[in-house]
């Protein structure tokens, strides 16, 4: 079958690829573009490891067809640090020892980023809700929740 073109921005950079129709965004990002930060933990929409931000909204790249993203602005965890400086969320995950195996981490950070983009000073319940689509099997979630709350506090201090 003929390949079809897709074009979008990934972490601010223009990307254009020819893909097979029906290819998921997760496969397009990982196998075509080479951004392996979104992880395939289930391909069912039940684990959140593949979470990316599309036009400001949290989406599951495993259930999104790449060709529906033409013209979109896509953000992944690999694009968060700028010039070698970690994003406050990344810093907070490090400081809180909120990663163990690390497989869920990029998806968790995406979910947390969307939360903080819309709700800079979230309550614990809002953090819990924001992370609720992302499975972690190692940490018991508490260090991750604490990391997001810490990042929010450091953001608001920086803004102040």
């Amino acid at each position: 079958m003929a390949k079809i073109p897709v074009q979008f921005t990934l972490n601010g950079a223009e990307k254009a690829e020819f893909i097979d129709s029906g290819t998921t965004l997760l496969h397009a990002l990982r196998d075509k573009i080479g951004d392996t930060s979104p992880k395939g933990g289930c391909h069912q929409g039940t684990c959140g490891a593949c979470s990316v931000i599309i036009d400001g909204e949290l989406r599951l790249s495993c259930l999104t067809l790449a060709e529906t993203c033409n013209g979109a602005a896509i953000t992944t965890t690999s694009g968060l640090s700028q010039g070698g400086v970690l994003h406050p969320l990344q810093r907070a995950f490090l400081d809180a020892f909120a990663t163990q195996c690390g497989f869920c981490t990029p998806g968790m950070i995406m979910a947390a980023k969307v939360l903080l983009d819309h709700t800079p000073d979230p309550s614990r319940d809002e953090v819990v809700e924001a992370l609720s689509g992302n499975i972690c099997r190692c940490t018991g979630y508490e260090p991750i929740i604490q990391a997001v709350l810490t990042a929010a506090r450091s953001n608001s201090q920086n803004a102040a």
């Binding site: 020892f97 609720s132 979630y141």
Partner: protein, 334 residues
């Protein structure tokens, strides 16, 4: 409707290392020309932080800061044999192998330093910051950077070492079962507090207070990671998890994270962790394996707390709302 509260306790021990031993692990350590150290292994990091812990063990033994140690692991073309990462054996077995290898490398390092400083190697000590000092005369010193350069380019010495750790295999005696399953045991005691809804059987774990004795917390923050995550998994095992919810009926097995139940971030018990350290005689710096045992005591503690709350015994895992409700109904009809 009544929400009933109860608490329960459980105390456990857990063996470190593969049951009955016979599970070797090797390590190689060598310095680079500028006095950094490479640890070569074939052990696997599952996320528990094996690489970081091996770096700290090597650094402590050699006498350098941890960031001067690089761990290269799990390439069978370069790393010597390790039985694997399981049975709470990683830190204990690989750690001992790293210590042995690092000691051998340290001895060469001190010998080279001794030649440079014109003293006996036995008169030297490390300051942990990357320097080798003459005991009692710390103004006479040489940096490990310079020692490694000297070893490589002047004295033709390889600052390296080999480590192998093996607990000899024990074979159970057929009739009596006399055997040596393990050389050291971690310990725990957990008190759990629950609420049970006696109309729906729903359980909320309010608090778990865990006391863990783990030999030695080699890196306290990383120990905490495992203990907190393990305590969560223990609660999960107690109340949620199974691939066969109607066992031994084989039907209705969950196939995704929606159907395979585990506590979500909104289900977390208030968790307290207290760590005691009784160094094990054969553990690396006294460490035992904390990774598995930390998920065990919550299960019976919660089962006992449920009984304390509503007076029914659920002797089948997981302790689901359905099992509680059935037991409450049976209790009411008796």
């Amino acid at each position: 409707m009544a929400i009933k509260r109860g608490r329960g306790v459980a105390a456990i021990n857990y063996p470190t290392g593969m049951n009955l031993g016979g599970d070797p692990t090797q390590a190689l350590v060598h310095s680079t020309p500028t006095g950094n150290f490479m640890v070569t292994l074939s052990s696997v990091d599952l996320g528990q932080g094996m690489k970081q812990i091996m770096a700290q063990i090597c650094a402590e033994t050699i006498g350098v800061p941890t960031d001067r140690v690089v761990v290269d692991t799990a390439d069978t073309d370069t790393g010597p044999h390790c039985m694997g990462t399981f049975a709470s054996r990683g830190t204990h077995r690989a750690g001992n192998a790293v210590i042995q290898a690092a000691r051998e490398a340290r001895q060469v390092m001190l010998e080279v330093a001794a030649e440079e400083l014109e003293v006996n190697a036995s008169d030297l000590e490390t300051d942990g910051q990357g320097n080798i000092l003459v005991k009692g005369a710390p103004q006479r010193s040489i940096s490990i950077f310079d020692v490694a350069l000297s070893a490589h380019f002047k004295r033709g010495r390889s600052i390296s070492g080999r480590g192998m750790f093996l607990i000899p295999r024990s074979y159970p005696e057929k009739e009596t079962g006399a055997m040596k399953p393990s050389t050291c045991y971690a310990h725990a005691c957990t008190v759990a507090e629950v609420e049970v809804d006696d109309e729906t059987g729903e359980i909320t774990v309010l608090t778990v207070k865990n006391v863990f004795e783990i030999g030695r917390a080699l890196n306290p923050k990383m120990v905490e990671q495992q203990l907190v995550g393990g305590s969560w998994m223990g609660i999960s095992h107690a109340l949620y998890e199974t691939t066969e919810p109607y066992y031994p009926d084989r039907d209705h097995g969950g196939t995704d994270f929606n159907q395979y139940l585990m506590p979500g971030p909104g289900d977390l018990a208030q968790t307290e962790i207290i760590v005691l350290e009784r160094p094990s005689a054969d553990g690396p710096y006294g460490a035992k394996g904390p990774g598995e045992m930390c998920a065990n005591p919550q299960i019976p503690a919660i089962a006992n707390a449920v009984f304390d709350a509503v007076g029914v015994r659920i002797d089948t895992l997981p302790i689901t709302p359905e099992r509680i409700l059935r037991a409450l109904k049976a209790q009411a009809s008796n």
